[in-house]
């Protein structure tokens, strides 16, 4: 069960839409306006197959179950309402990449939500490598895309998580050591 969930949503051109979902996405997401769309590569066929959700309801159910990665397409008629529902129902530890022909938007957990519009060029191949810096899914092979660091709140997120885990392990080992002292070891009268 993933602690951090990732969802990639393919949508129509965002500039054609307005509404609370779009407004929230563009206000609090990291928006790459110079975006070249294409195939989103980086997963094995099997992983991509497992990740694909046929509709929003399925996608939300999988996120609730703790699936690490979900791929979803939202078509024009359901885009705004679907996006709004997705934003409302995904929890705090979900990172979202909204991929449209005209722009790429990252939103949610680990995203620099005050980044606003970023004019650095971005490509479809960059989506999964960027998401993998925060998410818990595995990339396949050596993806050609770049990590779009400016989308991320903390480019060292994974290292911070590793340090936290090391610290936690150290604490647990210390307590384990305390419970297994030999009589000549330091004691603490507690």
């Amino acid at each position: 069960m993933a602690d951090i969930k990732t969802i990639v949503v393919r949508v129509p051109e965002i500039r054609e839409f307005s509404g609370p979902g779009c407004d929230e996405l563009l206000k609090n997401g990291a928006v790459f306006s110079d975006y070249r769309d294409g195939e989103i590569a980086g997963l094995s066929d099997a992983d991509a197959g497992r990740a694909r959700a046929e509709n929003l309801e399925t996608a939300l159910a999988r996120l609730k179950d703790g699936r690490d990665l979900v791929l979803l397409r939202l078509e024009r008629p359901v885009f705004e309402a679907g996006l709004l529902e997705l934003l409302e129902k995904s929890d705090r530890r979900t990172i979202l990449a909204v991929v449209s022909p005209d722009r790429l938007v990252f939103y949610g957990f680990g995203v620099a939500n005050k980044a606003g519009v970023i004019r650095d060029p971005a490509a479809a191949a960059d989506v999964l490598p960027t998401l993998a810096m925060v998410g818990e899914f595995f990339l396949e092979g050596s993806p050609a895309g770049r990590v779009l660091y400016r989308a991320l709140k903390n480019p060292n997120f994974k290292q911070v998580q590793i340090e936290k885990l090391k610290a936690a392990l150290g604490r647990l080992e210390k307590m384990l050591k305390r419970e297994n002292r030999e009589p000549w070891d330091k004691h603490d009268c507690a």
Binding site: D91, R171, L176, D188, C189
Partner: protein, 623 residues
């Protein structure tokens, strides 16, 4: 000589005379200074072993450990294997085989108040009042518990955190939904946690509590509230990072029979990041108000509301990385306040008391965590350690002041510690010393499982195979000959003396691998240990002591041991009617001398097994 009408013994576990004196000279301990000026000081106070349970048993009985039967922090249970891990903690009155002074005075119709005294509970008194002392904290149960285990009235400390702690519950914040009466602010996030209560004498039902965090301004999440339901109006408290809550009083349900027990706890928000990704809330133990006072109705004199016991002043949470040194000092203040309130309330409610015995443990806990800092060669570390030390002693000085103010003028006041301490040095692995002489099987575990081996813990990684060992080190100062009478024993009776001789030779000959020098000061047969008060039923076949530079704070060496500015001696002061003022008694005395001196000063009856002597020279009318 018998002029005092009452006696009050106030114990301060591990108060080190040299450190206390240094702080008195700094001018920061007015009540300890008062003791010195208005009373008599015993400059060389000794007891052996330098460990909590045997020492407090001696202070209570006037008998040596060989007589009262408690010779270590741990206690060997007859019939078990000699392996140290099979011993239990040596607390409580049931294992003390000598008569205590309060039992003797109670038999004589006197009224005794015994408050948080480690070797006291359960009470056998008809006239007196006892507040549970069966460990180091009040309202704590350690009798027959193994290792470090203990149980509390009502529950031990814990932690709610986004991080992983051994004694905690991990929580994860999500968007806050369905709340009533939200406060002003934004970015509301929540968690729901099934909080269970650990180490309870009466296991308690868990409670579902809700955490709410939010941004009160523009700088991210900075407030946290803990609530019994999703209604902010019902919050137990609201905190900013680094702040303590006020005491929270609740009813806690006992799992077995559903009854409700009132308990008090406090919380401190140790960490809250501006995105609520990192959060740690320390929860103090839950302090109850029933079950630990005898007779129960005597508890009615104590207002338990608004105070927490703060068992072990958070030492385990400090070791576990939950809290910081500043929080330890704050918890020491809470602990001291609880104890002072309980003690002074009982004194006020029982003005006809004849004897008052109490003990406080803050200083010992502090030293176990920070003595190496106090003695550090690094000036900055030493300065920080000594600042903490000063604050702890000031707390104890204030506690002393409250008790002195509550005691009538005609009281003989005795202030003592059970032992001192020295900073930890290279540790002697006794099993390795015995193994080097072919006496003991002590081998690394054989396992390919990472979680079976922890590189730094001998106790976890090594196995002492009793079935292959002629000698078994047990408790702090003992080695047993593994006779066939013990489970797993392999030594025949006729080989006892030869094995014992080999043990003594092995200990004395062993050179420490880190220093190349011999760490053992003394190793004798148990019968020879009678000379210094040990060698009783709980003694191993060989009794040994370490040089002070090879020990871990206290427990393994002679009370004459000293390193740096520390000593293993104990403090001992007398103040009261007919006691010489501003007098320093220059020669060594033993803790066993306290009871006979008290009895001489008051005319009170001597307990049946008393062995110490009266310290005559502290009395004004001696000459």
């Amino acid at each position: 000589m018998a002029t005092a009408k009452k006696v009050a013994l106030l114990g301060f576990d591990c108060a080190i005379p040299t450190r206390l004196e240094a702080l008195i000279l700094e001018g920061v301990l007015p009540n300890f200074l008062r003791l010195k000026r208005e009373g008599s000081t015993i400059a060389e106070g000794y007891n052996l072993p330098t460990v909590t349970p045997p020492s407090w048993a001696t202070i209570a009985t006037g008998a040596y450990p060989r007589t009262h039967g408690v010779e270590d922090y741990y206690y060997y249970v007859e019939g078990r294997s000699l392996e140290h891990k099979k011993t239990v903690q040596g607390f409580g009155g049931s294992i003390v085989r000598a008569e205590t002074v309060w039992d003797r005075w109670d038999r004589a119709g006197k009224k005794c108040l015994v408050v948080n005294y480690p070797m006291s509970w359960p009470s056998k008194m008809k006239n007196g009042v006892m507040l549970m002392g069966q460990g180091m904290s009040p309202a704590e149960f350690r009798f027959m518990e193994p290792g470090n285990a203990h149980r509390e009235f009502l529950a031990a400390e814990s932690v709610l955190s986004t991080e992983v702690f051994a004694q905690g519950l991990r929580v994860v914040f999500d968007k806050a939904r369905g709340w009533e009466s939200l406060p002003k602010g934004g970015e509301f996030v929540e968690f729901a946690a099934d909080v269970s209560f650990r180490e309870s004498v009466w296991p308690l039902k868990s409670r579902r509590w809700f955490g709410l965090a939010w941004a009160s301004g523009d700088d991210g999440v900075d407030r946290f509230a803990l609530c019994p339901e999703r209604d902010y109006d019902k919050a137990f408290f609201t905190l900013e990072k680094g702040r303590w809550s006020d005491p929270v009083e609740l009813d806690f349900e006992v799992a077995e029979d559903g009854r409700l027990e009132k308990g008090v706890f406090r919380a401190k928000l140790m960490e809250l990041s501006d995105d609520a990704e990192t959060f740690t809330l320390y929860l103090s133990g839950v302090s109850g108000r029933t079950g630990f006072v005898d007779p129960p109705e005597a508890a009615g004199a104590i207002d338990f509301s608004g105070r927490i016991v703060a068992n072990d002043i958070g030492l385990v949470s400090l070791l576990g990385g939950v809290i910081d040194p500043e929080t330890v000092v704050e918890l020491a203040g809470f602990h001291s306040d609880w104890l002072a309130n309980a003690a002074t309330s009982l004194l006020r409610a029982n003005p006809d008391f004849d004897l008052f015995y109490s003990h406080a443990h803050n200083i010992d806990w502090f030293y176990h965590a920070f003595l190496s800092d106090v003695e550090s060669p690094d000036p900055a570390v030493r300065a920080r350690g000594r600042d903490l030390e000063r604050r702890i002693y000031q707390i104890e000085d204030a506690y002393l002041g409250r008790l002195l103010d509550a005691l009538p003028e005609e009281t003989l006041v005795v202030v003592c510690s059970d032992h001192g301490a020295t900073a930890a040095g290279p540790v002697l692995n006794t099993a390795e010393a015995l193994k080097a002489a072919g006496l003991c099987s002590y081998e690394k575990k054989k396992s390919d499982n990472y979680w079976d081996i922890y590189e730094e813990s001998e106790g976890f990684d090594y196995v002492l195979d009793v079935g292959k060992s002629l000698a078994v080190p047990q408790k702090y100062m003992f080695v047993y000959v593994n006779l066939e009478k013990y489970p797993g024993g392999i030594v025949k009776d006729e080989d006892y003396e030869s094995v014992r001789d080999r043990i003594i030779d092995a200990l004395l000959d062993y050179r420490h691998p880190e220093t190349g020098r011999r760490p053992v000061l003394l190793a004798v047969r148990k019968e020879d240990a009678k000379v210094f008060g040990m060698g009783g039923a709980q003694s191993g076949d060989v009794v040994y002591a370490l040089k002070p530079e090879y020990m871990a704070e206290h427990g393994y060496g002679f009370p004459t041991g000293a390193t740096g500015s520390c000593t293993l001696r104990n403090i001992l002061y007398f103040k009261g009617p007919n006691v010489r003022k501003n007098y320093v008694y220059p020669r060594p005395r033993w803790l066993a001398d306290i009871v006979p001196t008290i009895c001489a000063a008051t005319g009170g009856p001597l307990p049946a097994d008393v062995e110490g002597a009266v310290i005559y020279q502290i009395f004004e009318d001696f000459e």
